[in-house]
Symmetry: C2
Subunit: 455 residues, 2 copies
């Protein structure tokens, strides 16, 4: 126990929460990073967490909520009363409001929405209805738009009078709309600086600007920001009306979150998110739903061994090599899975290119299988002094390595094609197939060479 | 083979490369995303890749190079002649130049640097010497700075006269420096728009602005951008001189790349990057360096089984359950590893908090171990009609699940503390320890209950 030597920021937070002083709490969070705030909050009881959020001014509480992981934010807000939650929500930007509401239990979300003004509630509802990985779900509704009939002077005046309110806005671009509300141009703020006040906005703006419809998926948005040095892209609805702006930052954040989530899924964390501050039963249930599928698949794969009990009884040394072949083939296959998932995410490979991926993997698998096979063969030979035992287990591992990388490389592409999440399902499919094939190879080769192995 | 039904953008690229028309090639890449460009290029022979890059105008070639994954970009540039590479490099922003040079083989990098002007070469060298995950390695040196004695009018004039050149700059903030070159203030472009030309910059600027020293690590930068709504933060050297600007975009990109790289490492891709367009030998060698460590550890773990050959010969059914226990414990342990690596990255847990993580994991492990143990026990009982066999394998799996999550949860923290990369090393450590413990538990429990299991 090194308790005394570590600084515990949550002990300070606990003290401040019990004190109940809004400005001291505000100061405390000012000095913390998002990770540190999340860490300190997760150590408090849910009563004290509630006390912290209700003691802070709603704006400050909103800042804290925005900085911590979403899963934890949802937990915290669900513990608040609906009117406290609504006050904090009102102080958040539109996209964060919508994300939080969309991630909450329906009854909690409804309770909070009913505390908002009808107009605000309807805006949040509209945003929360979008999937979280399309332009509509990623956009903010805080943007600056002006009529196409305005002059530069009008724009500067409008900017000056609203300077305070626009603090959180995307102000690098001003959007110019027609009378019907459809987007007709974009005016970079830079150009406003450099232009005479009397000039018409319509002359100065970039007309036919780049825009996306609200249903544009994350991958396409990411491509757009890859290709264009823009901080934000305007979003229009199906009737071409300007409805929001999707910011580069939010697209990159969503893309990074998906990579994190894929990693957790590939290791069997269903939903792609677990924090140890979540309730025990939820953590256990999510992990278990993946494990229990795996245990059934594992039993099915191991039943191949049961078919060869006679061979095993004659050459008990084989039992030592079965787990080695299972583990090593799993390792080789998972390397291929990881490269395929990464190349799919980067768009370097399409789900149809099975033959290309397979050819590339077989070459690597043949080299690596040969090396691993020789290592295991030598180990078997040295241990039992029987070269045939080495030959059996070594060639089984070599062949199964080629099989494992073939399966590992192609399965993510096939799953993607059938719209199954490759990060979640590739591992179990791979392990089951390579285990079955590996056990079959060792034990059937051993059965063929039985006379050379016994005695 | 579905060859005819898929569109092959690289066949078009091949045709255009052979044609050798710079403007057609430029048009072609204009319409592609980064992923598509990378995918098309990776399908060409290295001669044609070189032809594409040398046919394009250096500015256009630089745009292509910036959009594709760095590992592929390095390969492409290393195949160019030093003067072609230097021409393209000159057209890139400073941070991309430095990243590329830092990732190349030393002799290739030197050959290219010797083609640059001495001043440019020295700038690239300075940037490339920074680690890629500190402010100095992430910053760009393209920024706008003005003397503290300037007026708003001076700044607007300077901006107007250089408008063309500043296209790729961070223009949202103007940096104000003292005569000695040290940073004294920041002036948001917004404020320039709203101010009278006669006002002094020194009155208007935010003095004592936020800045970071060039050695600030990625995690701290990410925290700063988390906490402040800024697009860029000025970077100063140890003598307080303004040397660059680190952009939010670059910090987020580096953070996302680290998550991707951690995922690949956790699956045994050494170096955290592999594209199937890389040479076969490099791919094979990197994967093999991880596999060969694993096979040795696997053999060591399986040698536990060799100690119990008599028990195994008496109860051959146990051989079926050894791989199941090994695989399932691996799955449970890897879930704990994934959550720990994620919480370490988010800063939610510190390497010292072993006891807290262990307590949280033991609770989940106990529940999940019980469920999995009962499933496997039932399978064994049903198969062999022997309740004691079920009891032995079920309780071994239950106990080993608790062991696996304890190891899986804490090993990443311990590795991090000793500055070993947890993403790369956690898996092998986990698998070896849980296999050993699992085999020992099944076989020693079976040895104790041997009289009940035989017959």
């Amino acid at each position: 126990m090194t308790r005394t030597s570590i600084s515990h920021p949550w002990e300070e937070l606990k003290r401040l929460a019990e004190l109940g002083d809004a400005s001291l709490l505000h100061q405390y969070f000012e000095g913390l990073s998002g990770g540190e705030a999340a860490r300190a909050l997760s150590r408090l009881s849910s009563e004290l967490q509630t006390k912290v959020l209700t003691t802070l001014e709603p704006e400050d509480a909103a800042d804290v909520i925005e900085e911590i992981p979403e899963a934890q934010a949802v937990d915290l807000v669900e513990h608040l009363s609906a009117d406290d939650a609504a006050a904090i929500l009102t102080a958040m930007p539109s996209d964060e409001q919508a994300d939080l509401i969309a991630a909450m239990r329906d009854d909690d979300a409804e309770a909070i929405l009913s505390e908002l003004s009808p107009q605000e509630a309807s805006e949040v509802r509209t945003l929360a209805d979008y999937a979280s990985d399309v332009a509509g779900g990623l956009m903010v509704t805080e943007f600056l738009s002006y009529a196409e009939t305005a002059t530069v002077g009008d724009v500067v005046n409008a900017l000056q009078s609203g300077a305070e309110e626009y603090a959180g806005y995307v102000v690098q671009y001003l959007y110019i709309t027609s009378e019907r509300g459809s987007l007709v141009g974009v005016l970079p703020l830079r150009d406003v600086v450099l232009a005479r006040p009397s000039r018409a906005v319509a002359e100065l703006m970039v007309s036919e600007p780049l825009s996306v419809v609200d249903s544009t998926p994350l991958d396409d948005l990411s491509d757009i920001f890859d290709r264009h040095e823009l901080l934000g892209v305007p979003v229009v609805d199906s009737s071409d009306r300007l409805v929001g702006v999707v910011k580069r930052h939010d697209v990159e954040e969503a893309f990074a979150e998906r990579a994190d989530s894929d990693y957790l899924k590939s290791q069997g964390i269903v939903g792609g998110e677990e924090l140890r501050s979540m309730p025990l039963w939820r953590r256990s249930r999510r992990r278990l739903s993946w494990l229990s599928i795996n245990v059934i698949l594992n039993i099915a794969a191991a039943s191949v061994i049961a078919l060869y009990q006679d061979t095993l009884t004659s050459v008990i040394a084989l039992a030592v090599f079965l787990p080695i072949i299972s583990d090593m083939s799993g390792c080789s296959g998972n390397q291929a899975v990881a490269v395929s998932i990464r190349e799919l995410t980067l768009g370097l490979v399409r789900p149809g290119e099975l033959v290309r991926v397979w050819t590339k993997e077989v070459a690597v698998g043949a080299i690596n299988g040969l090396v691993l096979g020789v290592i295991v063969a030598c180990a078997a030979w040295l241990w039992k002094g029987n070269a045939f035992l080495g030959l059996v287990v070594g060639s089984a591992l070599a062949l199964n390595t080629v099989f494992a990388v073939s399966i590992g490389g192609t399965v993510p592409l096939i799953l993607k094609r059938f719209r199954v999440d490759p990060a979640l399902a590739s591992g179990p499919v791979l392990t089951t197939l390579t285990d079955m094939c590996g056990f079959f190879l060792v034990l059937s080769l051993a059965t063929l060479a039985l006379s050379r192995l016994v005695g």
